[in-house]
Symmetry: D2
Subunit: 151 residues, 4 copies
């Protein structure tokens, strides 16, 4: 019988698998700090090689951090979930050296379609971006392997 | 007096500056292949280190390519422009080894607020993502240097 | 055998059914002016009772026009399609008395998931809003009746 | 000197002005039930004339309810604010006769740019839509009158 502790241990197992296999996130130094069913927190320190031409953190790096937290959260049920649409709004500059924290939370999961909100803050708690991801579960389990990746 | 040729040469100068200074895009191998006022094309080959845990191109890499093309296009007037909100919808998987092309086009530019559409296709012309970026011009010129980066 | 003319006549039949049954759009005076597979044009004159507190066209009225054009376009294949996520960006004020035209076009249709872009212009050709809708086909046909409406 | 009570009474004054002047919302029976700085709750009963061709609540009606709650919340500081981009995701069908409640909350307000989240639930607490609005303050005050409505 599945109880709350099982769901938490499933989520942690998913977290370990994704953290191991997600090479882009690894390369950017993204670390998973907490995962639970429908929820995850990831952190990233903004390195000089993540800057844009204006010398601040590239929007693509902030997006990747938020998207990775979203990916942990929406896969935490161990049902393979793909991103369909993601929207990010930048509310402040993230600077080189900042430590960014992305907290992803499930807003709704109806059948196989989910909505997740991610808030990205810097080390002072300033919100630098808000992100909303829409996911769809397909066949497969993150801890075992993929189904079809065609949406 | 500004004529069409001047605008094109300004856009190309902006392109050179951003291509030089955008370290995240450089690290991902993004190359600018064409720039004009309000328009840009950039390409990227999906490398193994850009994969997610499912072994296909990470959404963050596709986003960064699209966002970079958007950044070239909205800055091509040599008025510094920041991303406000970006939305990406994935329409197909991008696989390791694929060569992705992102074409960004200006949909509207009203005073300082712009809308840009970016389509990302693979080497077979299959659309893998559509992206829409909303920009806002602030003080400063990409070819000279930044103004304030607080939105 | 299905040929191009059949697809067009199916689209027109869908158009007639939706135009008849869409009571909100009817109440706002939305008229379908053209429909084809994956494509539709609808118009609406902004009436005084569609204004917001600032005395211009309410964003909800502009959205409803765009959404209705999107609904025509994504159902035109006579496979029942529901909106999942819609994004609208306002690029200029629509004023009382303006005649607005919404043109919806299919950007991508992969299996059952579609993306449609809608541009809303006033009678002078000024773009007042851009809209992007994401649809998902479910069982059922607009010309016959609905399947399940739970997304 | 402005204290908390003043801000609340300003918000209520804005609420009364907008509720009086927003004719589209009035026509759809939208009622403001609570307003505070950066926050508002509005309700609407889904009438038969708000249905789409599938016989359920038109997405445009749900959007208008959410957008109206957003408008109250982002104007509650008595600084005139316009919608720039709004995204709605439908998570369940709203049916004729349902009483929908939209709660709008300020997520971020940086200088003149704001982000507001709106959740729309039915009378059973089921979430039928989530909405995110991006606003920009311009000159003018809702309680006095408008500035320029060109974004």
């Amino acid at each position: 019988m599945t109880d709350q502790r099982d769901l938490q241990s499933i989520a942690e197992s998913v977290g370990a698998h994704i953290a191991e296999g997600d090479l882009l996130a690894k390369g950017l130094g993204v670390r998973l700090v907490e995962i639970a069913p429908g929820r995850a927190t990831a952190v990233m320190t903004v390195r000089p090689d993540m800057s844009n031409a204006a010398g601040v953190c590239h929007g693509g790096a902030t997006f990747t951090l938020a998207d990775t937290a979203f990916g942990f959260a929406c896969n935490a049920h161990d049902r393979l979930a793909l991103a369909q649409t993601c929207t990010i709004t930048y509310t402040g500059a993230a600077r080189i050296g900042n430590e960014l924290t992305a907290v992803a939370e499930e807003v709704a999961l109806v059948r196989r379609s989910g909505i997740y909100d991610v808030t990205v803050t810097d080390q002072n708690g300033k919100v630098v971006a808000v992100f909303r991801g829409q996911s769809r579960q397909i066949k497969g389990q993150p801890t075992i392997g993929a189904g079809s990746f065609t949406p």
